[in-house]
Symmetry: C2
Subunit: 229 residues, 2 copies
């Protein structure tokens, strides 16, 4: 964890991460990924905050608060990322907490929803992180895991970058939905998918995305939902 924490402490990495989402394909990807998350938030009460673990630069936290009407507790161990996130969510019902996924500063059964969005991939002890999330969830609370799919063209690119030692990919691990279910120890009650085109896709991206489905591509991003018994 220390090593992982350190890499996201790099100011340039936080900026580069944000920058990609400002590109045309990055914006399309984010829109598709948030759409997949939105579907699994249907019917979830806005009365209780969502704890976002690994909230990074606050893009998802800002969207949850502004577009979806959720209060958010944004957990992020990297000060560099948190600085970006605090700026982005100023004036929104988002509170920031410095903590690790494997040691959340919340009581047992104290929260109604926990979200990991493109976070679990960078956690060295994913099983511990999932256990910790389940610990702070109330019975009936929901766990949402949004992850890069291990078999998509994007995972190929990221594996290749990781192999060349590029941060943050050199420390990333990718999962299939089935592996995520194995990590949680139960079948998900809901699952959505997003982004079937490849990193080299050309506009219009909607067409490229439809083509990716036809090509048999795995989605770049999957969101799974569990309910704590």
């Amino acid at each position: 964890m220390t090593e992982l924490q350190n890499q996201f402490e790099l100011e340039e990495l936080a900026a580069a991460y944000d920058h990609w989402y400002e590109t045309p394909l990055g914006a399309f990807a984010e829109h598709q990924e948030l759409g997949a998350l939105r579907q699994l938030l249907q019917g979830v009460s806005r009365q209780h905050p969502i704890v976002e673990v690994g909230a990074g630069t606050g893009r998802v936290a800002a969207w949850l608060a502004r577009e979806m009407g959720f209060p958010v507790i944004a957990v992020e161990p990297s000060a560099a990322m948190r600085r970006h996130g605090e700026r982005r969510t100023a004036g929104l019902p988002v509170s920031w907490v410095s903590a690790h996924a494997t040691m959340l500063p919340f009581a047992d059964a104290s929260h109604a929803g926990v979200l990991f969005f493109a976070t679990l991939e960078f956690i060295a002890e994913p099983r511990r992180a999932v256990r910790e999330a389940l610990r702070i969830l109330q019975p009936g609370g929901i766990l949402l895991l949004g992850c890069l799919h291990a078999q998509s063209p994007w995972a190929a690119l990221y594996c290749w970058l990781g192999r060349r030692g590029e941060l943050p990919w050199s420390h990333a691990r990718f999962y299939t939905p089935e592996e995520l279910e194995e990590l949680v120890g139960a079948p998900a009650e809901g699952r959505t998918e997003a982004l079937f085109c490849a990193p080299a896709a050309q506009e219009p991206f909607e067409e490229a995305d439809a083509a990716g489905r036809r090509a048999g591509n795995a989605p770049a991003f999957v969101v799974l939902r569990w309910r704590k018994p």
Copy 2:
């Protein structure tokens, strides 16, 4: 190399390798990949044998001899693979040699053509293997590298399988065409590409393949050609 040699000594692996090419998608993939190789063999004299390094179970050697009219020297260190290969190429102008890619039993400048077809990925010392291929090539001789592309959806699947410890993928490394040029130390004079659909593609595969191009997928397979100065 010893470890790599050992894994391909497994009889089951040799059989499984062959078996995949008998599936509908495997047959389509092989047809596409050989088509990419065929394009780069145009104008190459059939008077001189092609040395195929890592000839495996002889599928490509048999095709070179039967369909393309080339004599072939098939180099393969694994006895299990070679047994399959010798059976497959019986009656064809294919001679089998037991040797490693990094130590070929041929004199300097003794051959007109050397081919690696889905082989370099499994060689622990690719730079040495390329140097050795260039050593045995005559001036004007051609080097052909047919490799899985590091950024295709297939590489994602194989990386994932490798990470789970599955042979032969746990020992594989994938390259981009640019990395292959860097390995050889010169820009290729020719390059072809094949198979843009993903491993989960559905029939008709021609349609899935066209869709993969539109989706921005990297090709599963590239063939590059160099001429020794």
